[in-house]
């Protein structure tokens, strides 16, 4: 889509913000620890997120052990099971995926992809990470306080979240809410950075409609997060006040263990509205960066431009906007006015249309491509399958009356794991295999990568696809043991055991990945500056890994979109974004 004539460089408007003085580190501490360089902060975010993610992975093993073999493990009881599901969900959604996509991928890729030297507010960017780390530490602390972490479910619904019938009522819930508040403060500092950097610090020629879709995805997700997280912030503060000071924002007149409490007049459902006003956009905060990353992976590794770029951008923006008017589809059976169902079912199913367009355009990008089945490409294909699967079951749950029998069953668990667990994780892995060479200068080991891919993809699918059918059967979620029922056959227990074994295998495969990351850091094949032959700007840095300030002496000038692959008449099968059109003298390209 070379839609602007490039007779001369003078025709390209200057960048919004010209060169600014960078902060330069003076010691090892300010270079690698208290660094203000977005690339270092990105690595810090990623390592922290993946470390806490490993905790959540172990928690998922505990849950699967209990579900697959109930009563076998004496170290798991009903309370602990609830604590495991709560912490697993909270960590995976917020502390791993949100932090990794925005803090990790966002920090690394935004400045490089838009041709900036760094984020526009490097100091605030650094603070963002340290506040995030503090939030993670407070979260981890809940495992060690009396009573342990909260077992209220990751949705933290009051009244039970702060009453004594739920584990972690003393300390766990208080620290959980404090940690969320910290996370949101940290995220806001980072998020403002990402938005302003995309809007203000793009290099000359990098118009919005030439940005790679990864940047579009992360940018839109960040705008959404800045609008959605405040709802969770106020909900957390209010719940904390209810717990600590005895206010009654969410607490009606009620009985606690047979005793009438002093609470009165509050609304439990208000919390649910606030939570899901954040919670639904959160799904897309995780999904949109994945959409962007997958678009770029498919395009690069199929050596073909992304099909329907403009439609893809508008689909991202439309999904982002629509996701703010669908939140109550999580509340169809919450007891809210049932007539809301008509509105929210309609808006929810409308989102399927821009989402479907994205899927069509991904697979149409493969059509007549030159598909290299590299590890990132394999993960991208797996993303499409798991995302389509999870997206389609979303049409069940979004359609209000169909949701009634399925809500609060294992069908929901299977659906959201497929669509915002497995699918985004596929995008994370694809992205890591794809950009690792830029971050470290070395390739990840291909054979280990393929092993990791097949076990993870097939294993995860084998866990979550059959799980839908337990939900159809009527098996409720958040049960540590289904116990005696008339409707669950013995074979369902065998299925549970099978899923648990698959979960253990998939979990161990991640150790292979961790080994690969560390091993390749030292022994990996030298990558060179652009091993995949990618056209977008981050692969055109003068050094690999990119140095401080990213671009050497002069900022790059962008002449085209990020998807000029296999252009008819061009010599190679890709044209970098900063390569001047034929006939334009390169030396004239400096601003």
């Amino acid at each position: 889509m070379v839609d602007i004539p490039f007779d001369e460089v003078a025709g390209i408007p200057p960048a919004e913000v010209g060169e600014v003085e960078l902060y330069h580190p003076h010691s090892w501490w300010t270079r690698y620890v208290f660094s203000q360089d977005a690339k270092v902060i990105a690595v810090q975010y990623s390592i922290t997120a993946m470390s806490i993610g490993m905790v959540a992975l172990v928690l998922s093993w505990m849950m699967r052990l209990q579900l697959g073999f109930p009563g076998t493990f004496s170290f798991i009881d009903a309370n602990q099971y609830l604590q495991f599901i709560t912490m697993h969900g909270m960590i995976m959604v917020i502390y791993l995926l949100t932090a990794l996509f925005l803090g990790g991928f966002g920090n690394y890729l935004i400045p490089l992809m838009v041709g900036a030297r760094d984020m526009v507010f490097p100091y605030v960017n650094m603070l963002s990470y340290w506040v995030y780390l503090l939030a993670v530490l407070v979260l981890v602390a809940t495992f060690f306080v009396p009573g342990g972490p909260t077992g209220a479910g990751w949705t933290l619904y009051p009244p039970q979240a702060i009453l004594s019938g739920t584990p972690g009522q003393d300390w766990g819930i208080v620290l959980m809410l404090a940690s969320l508040i910290l996370f949101i403060i940290g995220f806001t500092m980072g998020g403002l950075n990402y938005v302003v950097t995309v809007l203000q610090a793009r290099t000359r020629g990098m118009t919005l409609m030439r940005m790679p879709l990864t940047v579009w995805g992360i940018f839109t997700a960040t705008v959404m997060a800045l609008l959605a997280f405040p709802a969770l912030f106020v909900a957390s503060v209010m719940l904390l006040l209810d717990r600590l000071l005895g206010t009654s924002f969410f607490m009606p007149t009620l009985v606690e263990m047979g005793q009438l409490t002093k609470y009165g007049g509050g609304s439990p459902i208000l919390f649910q509205h606030l939570f899901w006003f954040f919670g639904h956009p959160e799904v897309y905060i995780v999904a949109l960066p994945a959409f962007g990353i997958i678009s770029d992976l498919i395009s690069v590794h199929a050596r073909k431009n992304i099909f329907g770029y403009r439609m893809m951008v508008w689909a991202i923006v439309a999904i982002g906007a629509l996701s703010f008017v669908v939140w109550a589809h999580h509340m169809y059976v919450s007891g809210m006015n049932p007539y809301f169902g008509f509105f929210f079912a309609t808006t929810t199913l409308i989102i399927a249309i821009p989402t479907a367009i994205k899927v069509y355009n991904w697979v149409l990008t493969l059509w007549r491509g030159d598909i290299h089945l590299t590890v990132p490409m394999l993960f991208a294909l797996a993303f499409i399958i798991t995302f389509v699967n999870g997206g389609l079951t979303g049409l069940f749950l979004g359609n209000v009356v169909v949701d009634v029998p399925l809500s609060d069953t294992m069908f929901v668990v299977a659906h959201f794991h497929m669509v915002m667990g497995i699918a985004p994780i596929m995008a994370v892995f694809g992205g890591l295999y794809h950009w690792y060479p830029k971050v470290t200068g070395r390739m990840l080991n291909e054979a280990l990568g393929r092993f990791h891919f097949w076990v993870t993809f097939i294993g995860a699918y084998a866990i979550f696809f059959p799980m839908h059918y337990l939900g159809l059967l009527g098996m409720p979620r958040r049960y540590h043991d289904i116990g005696e029922t008339t409707f669950v056959p013995a074979s369902a227990h065998d299925l549970n055991a099978f899923m648990s074994v698959a979960a253990l295998i998939v979990g161990f495969a991640q150790l292979v990945f961790l080994f690969n990351i560390i091993w390749s850091l030292f022994k990996g094949k030298e990558a060179g500056s652009n091993p995949w032959g990618a056209a977008s700007l981050e692969w055109q840095t003068p050094e690999t890994p990119p140095g401080h300030g990213n671009w050497g002496k002069d900022l790059p000038i962008v002449y085209r979109w990020a998807y000029d692959y296999s252009v008819p008449g061009a010599a190679g099968d890709f044209v970098p974004q900063n390569e001047p059109p034929a006939g334009l003298a390169t030396q004239g390209a400096h601003p």
Partner: protein
Amino acid sequence: MAVALVLLLVAVASVLFHIYSPWWWTPIASNWRYIDDTINLTFWITGAVFCAVIAFMAYCVFRFHHKEGRRAAYNPENKKLEWWLSIVTAVGVAAMLAPGLVVWHQFVTVPDDATDVEVVGQQWMWSYRLPGKDGRLGTSDARLISPDNPLGLNPNDPNGQDDIVVQSDDLHLPVGKPVKVLLRSIDVLHDFYVPEFRAKMDMIPGSVTYYWFTPTRTGTFDVLCAELCGTAHAQMRSRVVVQEAKEYHAWLERQRTFAELSGQHDVAKAAYRTGRE
């Protein structure tokens, strides 16, 4: 080649699993067969899309995977194709949404002849209340809850005196009669869930929620709690017994009213006091 085959296998295995899975709905016992029909319709539409997308992907991987000398086509966009695909998708979505909303309208429209039945959730047990001869339930208030009045019924409400109170026992319902289930909780969120009835709804302290259904076959059905309510959430069980009208009325005769229960308490208390003095 191998990759294309595996992708295709994933789709085929999913379809086969769906067809041969022994894990499927419990046989329905209420009038909400329409919900099952809507789910079936949704399975057909989404299943077709799922298979089509994966088959197309697998074909692309098979046909266009990298070979020496292959070069990808260059086609940035195709407005016409994109619009057609959007329209077809919109039609498919409408085909699922429209019947869904029609059934939802039925779900939220309670028939006039439905009998009120109150279900009260508390950590971690179920209680039930049926209207007495007057056909009306008395009022209740969480502030009235005491050991003598565990459901917080209003002792001054004449409508409530003949209400049948069922505690730590099964709920019985007559077959074929529409029921409006009034849901109340006195502590945390719960959800009255009987898989065979398909319908469910959360119960919220401080308000009364509802849904309606008509039991369509006799039998005994498990009641589970479907909204996380604390430690013993998974053990919060009860049963609903759906019976022919005659047996139901025989059961009803044996139950005690709120007045009787509170009277009993008063008598018991008086005896206790007397004995102590």
